[in-house]
Symmetry: D2
Subunit: 350 residues, 4 copies
Amino acid sequence: MKFASDNWAGVPPRIAEALMAHSGGQASAYGTSDLDRKIEATFNEIFECEVGVFFVGTGTAANSLALAACGKAGGVALCHDEAHVAEDEGGAPEFLSSGNRLRRMPGKLGKIDPEGLEPAFEKFRLRGVHHGRPVAVTISQATEIGTVYSVEEIAAIAEISHGEGLPVHMDGARFANALVTLGVTPAEMTWKAGVDIVSFGGTKNGCWCAEALLCFKPELVEDFAYLRKRTGHLFSKSRFIAAQFDAYFRDGLWLELARHANAMAQELAGVVENSANSRLAWPVQANQVYAVMNRDRAAAMLEAGAAFHEWPRPAAHRDVTGKGEGLYRLVTNFSTESAEIEAFAALLNR
Amino acid sequence: MKFASDNWAGVPPRIAEALMAHSGGQASAYGTSDLDRKIEATFNEIFECEVGVFFVGTGTAANSLALAACGKAGGVALCHDEAHVAEDEGGAPEFLSSGNRLRRMPGKLGKIDPEGLEPAFEKFRLRGVHHGRPVAVTISQATEIGTVYSVEEIAAIAEISHGEGLPVHMDGARFANALVTLGVTPAEMTWKAGVDIVSFGGTKNGCWCAEALLCFKPELVEDFAYLRKRTGHLFSKSRFIAAQFDAYFRDGLWLELARHANAMAQELAGVVENSANSRLAWPVQANQVYAVMNRDRAAAMLEAGAAFHEWPRPAAHRDVTGKGEGLYRLVTNFSTESAEIEAFAALLNR
Amino acid sequence: MKFASDNWAGVPPRIAEALMAHSGGQASAYGTSDLDRKIEATFNEIFECEVGVFFVGTGTAANSLALAACGKAGGVALCHDEAHVAEDEGGAPEFLSSGNRLRRMPGKLGKIDPEGLEPAFEKFRLRGVHHGRPVAVTISQATEIGTVYSVEEIAAIAEISHGEGLPVHMDGARFANALVTLGVTPAEMTWKAGVDIVSFGGTKNGCWCAEALLCFKPELVEDFAYLRKRTGHLFSKSRFIAAQFDAYFRDGLWLELARHANAMAQELAGVVENSANSRLAWPVQANQVYAVMNRDRAAAMLEAGAAFHEWPRPAAHRDVTGKGEGLYRLVTNFSTESAEIEAFAALLNR
Amino acid sequence: MKFASDNWAGVPPRIAEALMAHSGGQASAYGTSDLDRKIEATFNEIFECEVGVFFVGTGTAANSLALAACGKAGGVALCHDEAHVAEDEGGAPEFLSSGNRLRRMPGKLGKIDPEGLEPAFEKFRLRGVHHGRPVAVTISQATEIGTVYSVEEIAAIAEISHGEGLPVHMDGARFANALVTLGVTPAEMTWKAGVDIVSFGGTKNGCWCAEALLCFKPELVEDFAYLRKRTGHLFSKSRFIAAQFDAYFRDGLWLELARHANAMAQELAGVVENSANSRLAWPVQANQVYAVMNRDRAAAMLEAGAAFHEWPRPAAHRDVTGKGEGLYRLVTNFSTESAEIEAFAALLNR
């Protein structure tokens, strides 16, 4: 019954074995080994184009360095009001971009409303140097609250952003989960829809520590090697990241892992929906389930060994019913088993 | 014949196996798992005191965050003229400390000369806010050129630094190599000699990616959790670092690996010293051999498959003999075999 | 009819004469002259306590350095949603504080609602290092939209902030205008109400370039001399700022200038209120008048030589009436004359 | 006998009167007034080309923002070992450029030796991302120790720098003093010799606070407006800087002031040279005199009311004679009078 986070999981055997297999011998360091090169080529194949690939170790590093690569003096990146970059990365996007600002944009279900972008851009035009200048639009796929942008929604945001001369960044910490939900190709979900730079996450979907900054616009990554080094994010034995991705992509493992996590989330969503003691806060589209539950019940379940987090929301939303309800996040992962969900259901409906 | 760097090596079987062993189940993230806690306790035992332990993924991160933790507005950290922080970390120490400066100090054999510190401090006192203020003294053990500070040398630097109210940081990327050379305890080489904060490196001595920031002064680490997070260096599945250290320390593996690397360096030093085509640039005290070799010979050896780097030195030192000589760095590691050294010797003396 | 901004004005004769009077002789530089010392003592008298005084040249520098002095790694300063620091300082508060973030708080009439602070603090407590940590609450007096906090309102915010261990900063770019509105003493409007650090502005009220960072908590200003120097804000001939303040405070000139500006704003407010072509957007409490006017009329007035700015507002507020109305800001200053207001009225009512 | 610094002086009557003359009326703010525009045109005339002009308030701001405009991730600016940017600006060049580093280059008499540049560049090429990348070469004219580069020396440095694709910055805090020494035009001393960006100082030569960032390469200043704003260096009543420059340039006042200061320095140099109690440390080429004097004598003179500073030098240089000598800096300015020098001579030779 551990639904606290997908990063509580470890790694599946095939990834652990890959690390074992690649542990011997010597290989040139700092991202220059044959294995690094091979995996970069794999990314090209998967994305059906030539893509700049830079390995880093954390999603926060990937997102922050992506925004830093887009950054300028007085720069402002536009993100959703509940975006991970704005809420949960400890100020890294600002710090690693030398003080660029995040501007929070409104939008339902965790997704930026394209219609909200234009007034924001107008303000930049009106106020000039005092208000700063926009440098990027960043979206999360899947979003922080487990919803998924459609390809059309991504394209609509990208069109407006490109109209302002701005690159579009995608925080893909749960890239695979969104991809299998949409049933499209990686290319369709990214550069074909107008995305310019992607934080491609492997960690939440089964790697120990494997993230890749992918860039479809070469001019954005000119500085990237230096940005990564000066923040301490260039790994000497970089091949250990490459080795994880080697196993991750082989025989479609990554899609298999994501499909399993998503299927478990649907199973869990069914439990939440069909219980008299809970309901879904909004639709489940990837591997996160947001449930409104009675607070006492939730406390009892945690006491009984379930693991999940209460989700902070604006005060007004905290308990709309006046019935002592709270909002909780439940996350499934590649290793979640049906038995855990059944045990959770039993506790919920006791 | 791969002597390019100790970070060209992979990991020994016992570390790969530990990652395999710890890959299952779920564990709380971001450094809060039981395994993280256990390894922190192991550090306390090894250092015979209560020590603040923070895992990071690269040596550059460890050093830069250590100096950032000591940093202040207008701050200047004093390091040796050839220190890794000043020469090879791409500006990370400055960037992650929000613009603190490194001041290069002279000293023979890669080691800060304690007598050079006082005039530097005097200048800070004379010039006040304009010149900035010293915030730390940082030394490398083993040094960037493979030499090792004696415990007395460390203590002499620490005494002067503490007299100025400054903490002493040790870049221990090759901590184990220095330790087995000196034959002292970790405590004797650090806090007992006056060192306040250590970048404890595991990567160059056999881990994939395992470094620990160790702090003996609690007040220096108050901000550390936030410093690490805002630079993207907090790993979600932090237990994969803990797992590496678990194997690293078990049954003294770390010391065994370092002893082997150092012994191989001595063997290689013997080859260099006894050849008519080369000589040692200075004594070998850890796992790095600096050799003066004929440039044509060196080129031929590289051509024949040997791997090592020419070492940039001030122009004046480049070819003191006028005989077409260059300075080269040769690094051994935990997996270096005598056969490699023999093959190297054969090429050198051909 | 120049109501574009109070910083379009020059300086009154008494300040120009002071600069003339102090222009001869030599005086020690970088804030150490006798005149600097004398003005610092004047601040102590005016604020009835020992106050740390640091001269800087711009309001943006004063605000940003104040927040930098409060800053920490992962730090977040809470400000009103429309605050100058967040809207109009080009990212300086983030940049000069090494990437600290501004969190926008809601509140009517440009003032932070104390009730909104607690939920924000709760979120910091829940999310720990990921969400960052609050480091200061900053308010503007008078606010960006020309309203004025009562002493009680300030005290309420300060009480909550201090309860969280946070200092309160006041952006006093229009300190004098607010002070004469409230009719209280400088001490009552600041430290007696719980304010810890003030950006005391002279420029908008008749100086060329004279701002002072005032600090009532010595521990907050320990680093200030270094923060100011490393951002290039320490003036060599600092006495030229001191000379301006010398005249500014002599015989209560500063209060006289502010009273005049505020009186002119009331006169202008009467014009706006009594015209069929305009209305006040909200009450006028200092020297700024926010008027809702017909867009065509406003354009004609600008054409005819009036100077004022349209004010960007959320899209929804832009034209509530559907009558083609816009929101405009009109600012009076120490040199505004009734004749200008009469000319403005004639145009408005033509 | 006040020879402590040229920034101990105030302003000459013609500059004070200009501030008086421009103090009335209203003018658009933030560098957009007619007077700002007019002075920008004056700079074009003086430099015989179209030049980007940005006013700031301090020399540290001008230098640091110039280097920030040239900055990149991992960037390193090369300066002389004794440069003001490296010794006396409190870390501002590093901080305002988001952590770029200064690399100190050797050279006699305070001037970079062009021959020393090539080995530095070679090291950058050899070590790649780890060592960072050069982004600018910065020289001071006149230098920190009062010497002056010849036009040929400037051109030699610029040629090498441009060969590496690097812009050349000139710290012209004492631009006028060097210019009248060389007897060339502003164009000849800057862009015609290959200088790309200049910190043009007015403050040390008679302004209260007037510095201009001048740029001859438009692409370098694209970001400058944002760089200046986000560091708090954009003045609202910018015309007060323009007004100072208006008087400064009128009828060649600036050259007249510099010629006077330099002439006084020569007079003072004669005194030092002809006394049995002192000697010149090196030739006097602008308005600074470096004198080697007996320490006891110097102390007595300071006691008697003279003002000057001991100059910190490497320990080895501190007292070459063993006679108890020290190195002292004496600076003349636009208001220095012969009577002061005579009084100084009397004390020195008493």
